[in-house]
């Protein structure tokens, strides 16, 4: 029994302090204004203060902390990407994650489960091997495994997928693949930032951004105007609202991504299972719920409504893969927003507008990048220069016809 818990028993009054204050009003001026109180924005705030000693920072959140993608994703962390640029970036993120609970002194329930990406065709088998080979070259733990291996690790899986469709040929296996308690990541970064002097303003919406001769001059909010020369937009699914304010064109289109969760169950699935062709990814949370997601909604929409088709489709695909789950009940479904890019890679760094930095294009891979995007964006904002890890993700790559080939031969999200 950890001492920390005994402490609770010994103390007469509950002594835990606020994890983050809620300042009465906005100051007139900040060195940096971060739009978006999700994982990315809060992480950037934390690293600005912690690594660059920039503490006169305001995080503006129109809703509540971690209420966007941070609280709606299925909490998967992995680094088995296809391109060297992508793989390096996410590997750096994964390494930060591995030590994050300690660094922020907050248990993020970062749990390494092992990540399977199932291949249902020779073509997909090739793509997975491509990823495995690139990963190995970069020292990332990734390998191709055969169906026997999959069956051994996940006894309940039906390799034939019910027999009416392509069976499982093999999989890309990524042992460090992990899940974490997504909300906690936002709270822990918020606490860390708050302790270092960052101001976090919830229920504060940005209404416009003041740009004078190509440079950021300030931010209009529903609580008044604040002067600042540096603005970081870290709002993922709401990015097009913000870029519209500063008149930047982007390739971003917003699609909802839905997920659902089962009733709590005893431990049954230790691994993370992803099947692109079955539009399914599933893992079991520490609470015992099966958390499952699917593919993007088929059309652009800036709304997190649920659809029955999604639940039906995912239900069917779950049973294709796990016939024993017939009477397992779904508790709740929900949706989040994904700002998709044509090359399945983020849009990060400096922009044509001085002092306006963008952290977007997070599609279905935003959560796993939380630490590294916060870290590199803080570096970039502090120095007004793109961090080397994210140079390839510049917005200008699209006008330069220099896309990142993350989409590969077959697109695999999550």
């Amino acid at each position: 029994m950890p001492y920390r818990l005994l402490r609770f028993a010994l103390q007469s009054k509950y002594s835990e302090p606020r994890m983050f204050r809620s300042p009465e009003r906005l100051q007139d001026e900040y060195d940096v204004v971060i739009i978006g109180g999700g994982g990315h924005g809060l992480a950037a705030a934390y690293y600005l203060a912690h690594e660059h000693n920039i503490t006169n920072v305001a995080v503006l959140e129109k809703g509540y902390l971690g209420g966007g993608g941070t609280g709606r994703n299925t909490a998967i962390v992995r680094s088995n990407y296809l391109t060297p640029e992508g793989a390096r970036f996410y590997q750096a993120s994964l390494e930060l994650f591995q030590d994050l609970s300690r660094q922020l002194d907050y248990n993020l329930f970062y749990s390494e489960r092992g990540h399977f990406t199932l291949a249902h065709s020779p073509a997909s088998l090739r793509t997975q091997r491509w990823r495995a080979e690139v990963n190995k070259q970069l020292g990332i733990d990734s390998e191709m495994v055969d169906t026997a291996f999959i069956q051994r690790k996940i006894p309940e899986i039906d390799i034939t997928c019910g027999g009416h469709q392509a069976p499982i040929y093999g999989a890309l296996y990524h042992p460090p693949g992990a899940i974490a308690r997504h909300d906690a990541v936002a709270w822990a970064y918020a606490r860390g930032a708050d302790q270092r002097g960052v101001e976090i303003h919830q229920q504060t919406a940005v209404t416009d951004i003041e740009v004078r001769d190509g440079k950021v001059a300030g931010v209009h909010t529903d609580k008044g105007f604040v002067k600042t020369r540096k603005v970081l937009s870290a709002v993922a699914g709401w990015t097009t609202h913000i870029t519209d304010m500063v008149g930047i064109r982007t390739p971003l289109v917003i699609h909802p991504l839905q997920a659902m969760v089962s009733e709590p169950l005893k431990p049954w699935l230790d691994h993370i299972v992803v099947s692109a062709s079955l539009h399914l990814y599933v893992s079991q949370s520490s609470r015992g719920e099966l958390v499952a997601g699917g593919s993007l909604d088929p059309y652009e929409l800036i709304s997190s409504r649920s659809t029955l088709e999604f639940a039906e489709g995912l239900g069917g695909h779950m049973l294709d893969l796990f016939p024993c789950l017939g009477d397992i009940k779904v508790l709740r479904q929900w949706a989040g927003l994904c700002d998709m890019t044509p090359d399945f890679s983020p849009v990060m760094g400096t922009t044509p507008i001085g002092g306006f930095y963008i952290d977007a294009g997070w599609g279905t891979w935003g959560f796993k990048a939380t630490p590294i995007s916060g870290n590199t964006m803080a570096w970039t904002v502090a120095r007004d220069q793109d961090h080397e890890l994210i140079e390839v993700f510049k917005l200008s790559r699209f006008t330069d016809f220099a896309l990142v080939g993350e989409k590969g031969a077959a697109s695999v999200g999550h």
């Binding site: 990015t239 097009t240 609202h241 870029t243 519209d244 064109r249 982007t250 390739p251 971003l252 289109v253 917003i254 088929p298 059309y299 652009e300 929409l301 800036i302 709304s303 409504r305 659809t307 029955l308 088709e309 700002d339 044509p342 699209f398 006008t399 330069d400 016809f401």
Partner: protein, 89 residues
């Protein structure tokens, strides 16, 4: 499931359709400079608005245009594409 009204086949559940992205005006390839062309190829107007979008009715193979609010998911109207009319819109 949402209902979308195909100008030819009438109101049908969304399952019968495929989304085709926003209508985009192609610049004259000979006139456009490289970045102008890149803007056409890659950039989209993803901001919240009523968009003109391509939709395809799968059973009948019908392309048509839907004006849709991409935030409320409300379809304002649908009509068949007419090259002459769309130009300059």
């Amino acid at each position: 499931m949402k209902i979308l009204t195909c100008p030819v086949n009438g109101p049908r559940p969304l399952q019968e359709f495929q989304y085709g992205g926003e209508l985009r005006e192609m610049p004259d390839p000979d006139q456009a400079n490289d970045s102008g062309w890149a803007d056409y190829v890659f950039h989209r107007s993803g901001e919240p608005a009523i968009k003109r979008e391509w939709w395809y009715h799968l059973p009948s193979g019908t392309w048509f245009v839907a004006e849709r609010d991409n935030r409320l998911d409300e379809i304002v109207r649908t009509y068949l594409y007419d090259a002459n009319r769309e130009i300059g819109k």
